[in-house]
Symmetry: C2
Subunit: 257 residues, 2 copies
DNA sequence: TAAAACTGTTCCGCTCTGCTGAACGTCGTT
DNA sequence: AACGACGTTCAGCAGAGCGGAACAGTTTTA
């Protein structure tokens, strides 16, 4: 996932460097000073000074010659999760849906033009994947993401494309602006989106938006699974109706919070 | 909870300030520039510059005149949670225990001389409390914390007391070094710890350590609930045995990870 | 056994940058 | 219309962050 975001002129370099180090530490799942100098391109002494600072504030722990992210970050994560109304509102509904269909169901929202998974309910037959709570996704390449894009103002969609582009993950990924806008139009008619291997080969998904009274998008619900299995489900159990029902339940929950 | 940690001489001030702002933003659950200047004691323009930096890196979002922590922090939180072997190892066992006893069960670990709750399983009769995943606790005032202290080297316990002190939360909190060490000795005999309103009035808890083969402590399991209810449970269902069994299950799980 | 090649850590000086206080623009209120 | 609150911008000085090199360990190599 892209690291920068925007240019935005006057940033405090020291803070940017500290955050770069945290991100590198995250990717590396723990690393030594030298490894971090390679990953960040900073001087060894600079990395060291930052690590000392981060450790003294409790965000990093030192374990012999290895530095790792500390559990301090957990409280931030839990905080933002619970601060997001969708988290509580989606908890029961997605658990219910995943139990009925047996597949993985997740609820995501958008921020800064990217999607973030904020709640996951495993199905009994869930495949293993790298999608978990906290995962960031591009909006154009996921079912839930497209469902959200379809209900954002068109100029906002343009901004997002300008900022993040339309990178391809598989041969099926939509990379053309016009094609995307066409699909968004049909989504608004049908109420749900499909994703057929546009992000991961062989993995399909169905997504529905979660809307407020005034039409603003709060997020999306997505059911994901292996391509063939989902196609069957879709016929047998009328997945579309169940998904819309779940989304609607979440919408109602959102009104009382 | 204390914010600093240690003196540690040469810290990068800009980074310290950025983290202070993040922490203030966390406490305030979103705030404007002016509120943050009051909370942090920094100049308004300084706060603004930091917020711009944090926003450009995606850690903070701006919503009109209010800044909030972004969902970006969620990926960090989930990362450290899953990087901690205790998380996966405790998931099933504590769910099982909380189902049987009906009370809230949580699993915590220690880092930097503080406890952190890394997994919670709600019981059917759980009371509402501010203890949740990510919550930091002082080790001397919680059942699980004392269970962990009891199996740390004595000099390490001294260090921790020197660093964090023995602050009192209720009249029952242990504030005397000798008393604490006496209690730690009896804990090692009995295998479990009790907490009778030492952190929250009227709330009791029972904790057991999670130990490795070589005797090192990985963490602790704790059952918490209203005082009178827990006393009954304790008699009826022999909570101590069930708790030790759960702790042991987690210890076994830890060996295969 | 010695030395070479790694680590993480410290030191010091230069330059650049982060900090501040004040001024600006823009809302909502009185 | 004047006021007060907010977030934002500006400019200049002092201090602090940065990097290169030297230090102190530990493991690997000859």
């Amino acid at each position: 996932m892209g690291t920068t975001g925007e240019g935005e002129g006057n940033r405090i370099e020291a803070v940017v460097k500290a955050l770069d180090i945290l991100e590198a530490l995250w990717q590396a799942e723990g690393a030594g000073v030298t490894e971090l100098t390679e990953r960040t391109g900073l001087a060894k002494s600079t990395v060291h000074a930052h690590l000392t600072t981060l450790r003294s504030k409790g965000y990093v722990v030192q374990d012999g010659d290895e530095y790792r992210l500390s559990l301090r970050l957990l409280s931030f994560g839990e905080h933002v999760k619970h601060a997001e109304p969708l988290y509580a509102a989606s908890d029961a509904p997605i658990a219910d849906l995943s139990e009925r269909v047996g597949e993985r169901v997740f609820c995501s929202t958008h921020q800064n033009g990217l999607g973030t998974v904020i709640n996951v309910s495993e199905g009994t037959r869930s495949f293993t994947s790298d999608i978990d709570v906290g995962t960031h996704t591009y909006l154009h390449s996921s079912a839930g993401g497209k469902a959200m894009l379809a209900h954002l103002p068109e100029e906002r969609v343009d901004e997002i494309i300008d900022q993040w582009g339309l990178p391809a993950f598989t041969d099926e990924t939509i990379t053309d602006r016009e094609v995307l806008f066409d699909e968004l139009a049909t989504i608004r008619d049908e109420g749900v989106t499909y994703n057929r291997g546009e992000y991961l080969p062989g993995i399909s998904a169905i997504g529905a938006p979660i809307l407020g009274n005034d039409g603003t998008v709060f997020g999306a619900v997505t059911v994901a699974g292996p391509h063939h299995r989902l196609e069957n489900e879709w016929e047998e159990h009328d997945l579309r109706t169940q998904l819309l029902s779940t989304a609607n339940t979440i919408e109602v929950n959102m009104m009382f919070s």
